[in-house]
Amino acid sequence: MVDKNSPTIVSENKPITVGLFVTCLVDLFRPRIGFAAVELLERAGCQVAVPKAQTCCGQPAYNSGDNAHARAVAANLIDAFDGFDYVVAPSGSCAGMIREHIPELFADDPILADKAVALGRKTHELTSFLVDVMGMPTAVAAYQGTVTYHDSCSGLRELGVKDQPRRLLKGVDGLTLTELPSSEVCCGFGGTFCVKYPEISNKMVSEKTSAIADTGADTLLAGDLGCLLNMAGKMSREGRPIRAFHVAEILAGMGDGPAIGEAGEDLSAFADGQEG
């Protein structure tokens, strides 16, 4: 798919190939984030493919102590992403799972240990890949609004994702960033935690949304759809008029679409490659 939008060829005339790990939440709930990720990766000059055999990173099982299932699902992932230069996910949580934990799961496996480590090494969260690996100086897009940013835990603490999305957002025309004082405090999502301990999760997300409202921002951004579904769902329940997007959507110039939880999603444009 070397088309007019992605002419950059990096190193020795061989374009960099990226396998996009869509992540199950994006695949199921908000495909436009996947398209935004493709758009950004192509702008950076990568050739992007989406292996059909991908499902999930295995976190639901791994974090529930069910290593057998986690291993089976992760083995499928190792296979699906064989051969790419890089694997990129629009999620710090899933990228963290692949980078930090899948190698642990296979540490004693004579066949898959090396492959798991290799997959971990070439896997990146989207914004850190764009900045740290591809050297993208900033993004080119427009969004009218005052945004605040929540640092999702795994991206922040496992992968050091903090400045990269902010650097990219600097290039977005019309966008003002006001920092969220508790941006590094967990929003209470925690995968299955939010349904296993709903009351505690609710307490955590309530504190988060009131901190978000205190910033005066009209838009909330983050790099993980799980956290966004949690915070956007709480803000909508509380009747707060604050919109929520994945940071990739804004960076790819897709901030004119419906925000998370808003009606009017129309994916037909994406099917013809008309986004962005």
Partner: protein
């Protein structure tokens, strides 16, 4: 102490509905976090010191038998006695025996989590001794008949106004019309009441932050000076310490002290850091006539050499709970046993079993903030996950969760089945939710929709849309295209 860790959910429901507790927790969260951040920022070598502290403890744990024996010999040389206690019952018995031998009537105590772990107060009281906690926080909860809710700030869950009420009920000999509005007034009242207790006491019991092998010294770190009075005024000083408090040298203790107070309260150093070595010497103006140390195991040697050994580096600074959003929501009592927060979520199943304490390692979002601030670089989330694994392997995880994981695993390792299943589910949900863009309630996800809306899925998966756009390709396809 009888554990209620099994009831963590019910405990936390109660905690979330307690307005006094919530107010106290709100204050605590900001204070500790800001103070630690400042202390850390002011010391450029802080992270390097953490590495050093971790390495010291790792070395000690790898050679713990040697250092404990060296320590015992040094204590004996200084005129003290070391008692080895395998479990809580043995440790309690040693204390009771010493008190009986000394014909003690009254016992004063400095703050000690190990004494909570072995439920010492109840045993002493049952044997007829008067027991007085001398740390202000401990004194408050002793009056209230409560357990500590935090390892360094035991009464952090109590508001100043509640303390005033408690003091009025307890100190009936004082003028009922006195003012108890200010912190200062509360502190000076407690000080006045406690002063006489120190003087009347026969046995002083303290914990230890460190035991130093080369010198046979025990070290306590306090901010009130109560520990010093507890260990110097009575005839007998008993130190109760768990065996992993051992460090090889004075230098090692000093190195770890540099990260301890900064992590705990944001102080560079605590107000009092007291070193005691043996009983009073001939030339000493004061000090106890007898000096005993009880070395408690109570499950620790079983952690050595396992994936939980790292936990034995813990210096009980409390930073992990100060930064934990779950602890900050429900407080320490919800955890149901002695040790709360992330460190408690590892220690509780270690000491009282997964069947009893298994909830605690589950009640975490794995946000990782505890590990990030732990001065000893203990990988707390990793160990909580290991306990989830143990719980799962032992068949203790809830059946519904196991069943769900079985189905999920069956589908998620079969990509084409996964795509079919997700396409159908998401198509249906998207169709139902498309008008509003979100759901206010969902039958199978009430845990979610009781508290927040659920964004409706778009109705089509990304994978299907992508197929339509250009067909899925593999890495090989890309290579072939590039070669063209």
């Amino acid at each position: 102490m009888q554990s209620t860790s099994k009831n963590f959910k019910a405990n936390s429901t109660k905690a979330l509905a307690d307005p006094n507790l919530q107010q106290a927790l709100g204050k605590m969260k900001v204070g500790f976090v800001e103070k630690r951040a400042k202390a850390r920022a002011a010391l450029p070598e802080f992270d390097a010191l953490r590495d050093q502290a971790r390495d010291i403890k790792n070395h000690t744990l790898a050679n713990i038998d040697y250092y404990l024996e060296t320590y015992e010999a040094a204590v004996q040389k200084s005129g003290g006695v070391v008692h080895w206690a395998r479990d809580a019952a043995e440790a309690r018995q040693v204390v009771l025996d010493i008190c009986a031998e000394e014909k003690a009537k009254s016992v004063t105590k400095g703050k000690s989590m190990v004494s909570e772990e072995i439920a010492l107060n109840a045993a002493l009281e049952a044997a007829g001794y008067e027991v007085v906690e001398t740390d202000l926080g401990e004194y408050i909860i002793q009056i209230r008949g409560e357990a500590p809710s935090h390892i360094i700030a035991p009464a952090v869950h109590v508001l100043k106004e509640q303390v005033a009420d408690d003091f009025r009920k307890k100190h009936l000999h004082l003028d009922p019309k006195r003012s108890l509005m200010e912190r200062k007034e509360l502190i000076s009242e407690a000080r006045g009441v406690l002063r006489q207790k120190y003087l009347d006491s026969d046995v002083g019991i303290t914990g230890a932050n460190f035991l130093i092998a080369e010198t046979g010294t025990s070290v306590i770190v306090t901010n009130e000076g109560n520990g010093d009075l507890t260990q110097t005024l009575p005839r007998v000083h008993i130190v109760i310490a768990s065996m992993e408090k051992i460090v090889p040298t004075l230098d090692d203790a000093s190195a770890i002290l540099r990260v301890l107070a900064r992590s705990a309260t944001g102080q560079e150093f605590s107000a009092y850091t007291t070193f005691s070595t043996g009983p009073k010497k001939a030339a000493d103006p004061d000090g106890p006539e007898a000096y005993h140390v009880i070395l408690l195991d109570n499950g620790r040697t079983e952690m050595l050499g396992t994936e939980f050994e790292d936990m034995l580096r813990c210096i009980r600074c409390g930073a992990c709970m100060n930064h934990c959003p779950v602890y900050g929501s429900v407080g320490g009592h919800a955890y149901g046993w002695v040790y709360p927060g992330p460190m408690g979520a590892v220690l509780t199943p270690s000491f009282i079993g997964v069947a009893e304490g298994g909830h605690l390692p589950n009640a975490s979002t794995f946000c990782g903030r505890c590990q990030d601030v732990c001065p000893m670089r203990i990988p707390l989330p990793k160990m909580m996950r290991a306990y989830r694994r143990k719980e799962f392997e032992a068949g203790l995880a809830p059946p519904a969760a196991r069943f769900g994981l079985d189905i999920w695993g069956f589908v998620a390792k079969r990509p084409s089945l996964y795509r079919l299943a997700t396409r159908m589910a998401i198509g249906l949900m998207g169709w139902r939710g498309r008008k509003e863009g979100r759901f206010k309630s969902l039958p199978l996800a009430s845990g979610w929709t009781d508290h927040r809306d659920m964004a409706a899925p778009a109705g089509k998966t990304f994978q299907d849309m992508w197929d339509k756009r250009q067909g899925a390709r593999s890495a090989k396809d890309l290579e072939r295209e590039a070669a063209r």
